[in-house]
């Protein structure tokens, strides 16, 4: 934990309302830990919204759109009360919150209707909040920015080939998000480069990881995950990095199934064996934190090859 003592330089002291998302409190606790270490190190203040409900993950509105809108409006109102930008570490939470945020900002009739549902809770949402993903905050020079981040690097990731996996919710629909190109994104590539590593280009980087179909149509789900992992590996990637814990669950925790499905389709013979990191884990490695501090040992696909290559 020696590295933690060195934290806290080069800070702009910006404060965010932090919406961690359910997965980072359950099956991906290592994500929340890594985000908090990175934020503390960089001097980014996080005020966690512990009372916020689940965003619905793009599933709840399949059967209950009004409840999804109302619960997310309450979350947005919490950030509004604090006068803070809402920060997520999950692409899906970000996508759901941004979609509802834009709808509530554009449609006063809808906002009034949702606010009438919120009335008894004491919350009202006036449409003034911005929702940002950690990736955007790290890349955008108006927020933290890559030039500040470069100054903080203690362990360059030089020599590592990293496949960026963007997934869907952080890119599309671009008229609701507008940060990156919906099909030819660059933000995660730029971040990888800033950390000293080399981004690997491959077709699957802006496609779906398959997670939403995991319990509905597993074969299709694992084919998607397997195709992207296998393609990235064939292009020379040492590891994959993703800004979404749901993608991480399908790409890492379900990698054994993805390997099996690809074997059945005659695409590969052995295991895929590509380590997958959460975005803040990769950043924290470059800030000097150890794989153990970052919970990398709990990943299903071993991260040892990456650690050996980095000499940590």
């Amino acid at each position: 934990m020696a590295n933690e003592a060195q934290a806290g330089t080069g800070m702009p002291g910006k404060r965010y309302a932090f919406y961690p998302g359910c997965v980072s409190k359950g099956a991906c606790k290592e994500l929340k830990r890594a985000t908090e270490l990175v934020a503390r190190h960089l001097g980014i203040e996080l005020e966690e919204l512990t009372e916020a409900a689940c965003c619905g993950a793009g599933i709840m509105d399949d059967v209950d759109p009004e409840m999804t809108d109302a619960l997310n409006a309450r979350t947005l109102a919490m950030a509004e009360q604090r006068g803070l930008t809402l920060l997520t570490q999950c692409s899906t939470c970000q996508g759901v919150l941004n979609k509802i945020n834009k709808e509530l900002q554009r449609d006063k009739k809808k906002r009034d209707r949702i606010n009438s549902i919120l009335k008894e809770t004491g919350y009202q949402y006036n449409g003034t909040v911005e929702v940002k993903h950690l990736l955007w905050v790290l890349v955008d020079e108006n927020e933290y920015g890559l030039s500040r981040l470069r100054e903080q690097i203690r362990r360059s990731l030089e020599g590592l080939s990293v496949a960026p996996f963007y997934g869907c919710y952080i890119l599309r629909p671009s008229d609701l998000l507008g940060f990156d190109h919906p099909h030819r994104p660059t933000s995660l590539d730029e971040l990888i480069r800033a950390l000293g590593a080399t981004p690997v280009d491959y077709n699957g980087k802006s496609k779906c990881c398959g997670f939403p179909l995991q319990l509905i149509h597993p074969k299709n789900s694992f084919t998607m995950a397997g195709n992207h992992l296998s393609e990235a590996k064939s292009k020379g990637a040492d590891l994959m990095v993703t800004p979404c814990p749901l993608c991480h669950l399908n790409l890492d925790a379900r990698q054994p199934e993805a390997s099996r499905v690809l074997q059945e389709q005659g695409k590969i013979s052995g295991e895929i064996g590509l380590p997958v990191l959460h975005l803040p884990q990769l950043v924290a490695l470059a800030l000097g934190y150890t794989p153990k501090e970052l919970g990398m040992r709990t990943h299903i696909t071993s991260t040892r090859p990456v650690e050996e290559k980095l000499g940590v």
Binding site: R172, P173, K219, H299
Partner: protein, 205 residues
């Protein structure tokens, strides 16, 4: 046809069959049995057409393998669509209608409905409970869920309390869960009120 009824099928009616959505569809890419975005948008145009009488027949077929629940929700069709059709949003409308009309015997609906029930209990997602609520057979639990659960538990990645999975039990609630319950009650009360402008869309079960 009343103008407000036409509004429900207006977007889907604008499809020019350009197939840009098929070129981008990630589900169609891996499974040619998937009906695909434009066809599903067209289906929504008929399901919500007040002159059409085959609504339940259509929704039954659409709820089967290759239909509305096989969409991966990647937004590529929304991005690619040059018209207001934007198939994903039409697929969502179909899922909501299938829910209202009782087409519930599939993993897609169980997954979405199970999700809502979990949030109603505790305010946040219980990732151990949701898979159990989503699958329809014991075989899926044994062959798929138990292996991944054991794998994650052995690695120390995720060790849920098994007691929380018992009937009537749930994982700890978020702070101020009472507020979430108030919101849910209000939403349910509004849903229970008779609809004046949407009478043609009354649910059947």
């Amino acid at each position: 046809m009343a103008p407000e009824d036409f509004e429900k099928i207006d977007a889907a009616s604008t499809c020019i069959l350009c197939s840009a959505c098929y070129s981008e569809c990630v589900s169609y890419e891996v499974d040619k049995n998937f009906l695909g975005p434009a066809a599903l948008a067209k289906a929504q145009r008929f399901v919500h057409d007040t002159r059409d009488l085959a609504t339940d027949e259509r929704l039954k077929k659409l709820s089967e393998y290759g239909g509305i629940w096989d969409c991966a929700h990647c937004f590529n069709c929304v991005q690619a669509c040059p018209k207001p059709t934007e198939p994903l949003w039409r697929i969502l409308q179909l899922r909501q209608e299938a829910h209202r009309r009782g087409f519930h015997d599939n993993n897609g609906w169980r997954h979405a409905y199970g999700f809502v029930k979990i949030i109603e209990e505790s305010g946040w997602l219980d990732e151990a409970k949701l898979p159990l609520k989503s699958v329809g057979t014991l075989k899926e639990i044994v062959s798929d869920l138990i292996p991944v659960g054991l794998r994650m538990s052995l690695k120390g990645k995720y060790r849920p309390n098994p007691l929380h999975l018992l009937p009537g039990m749930h994982h700890p609630e978020i702070p101020k869960m009472a507020e979430v319950r108030q919101i849910i009650q209000r939403v349910r009360a509004a849903e229970a009120q008779p609809k004046t402008t949407e009478s043609s869309e009354e649910e059947q079960g």
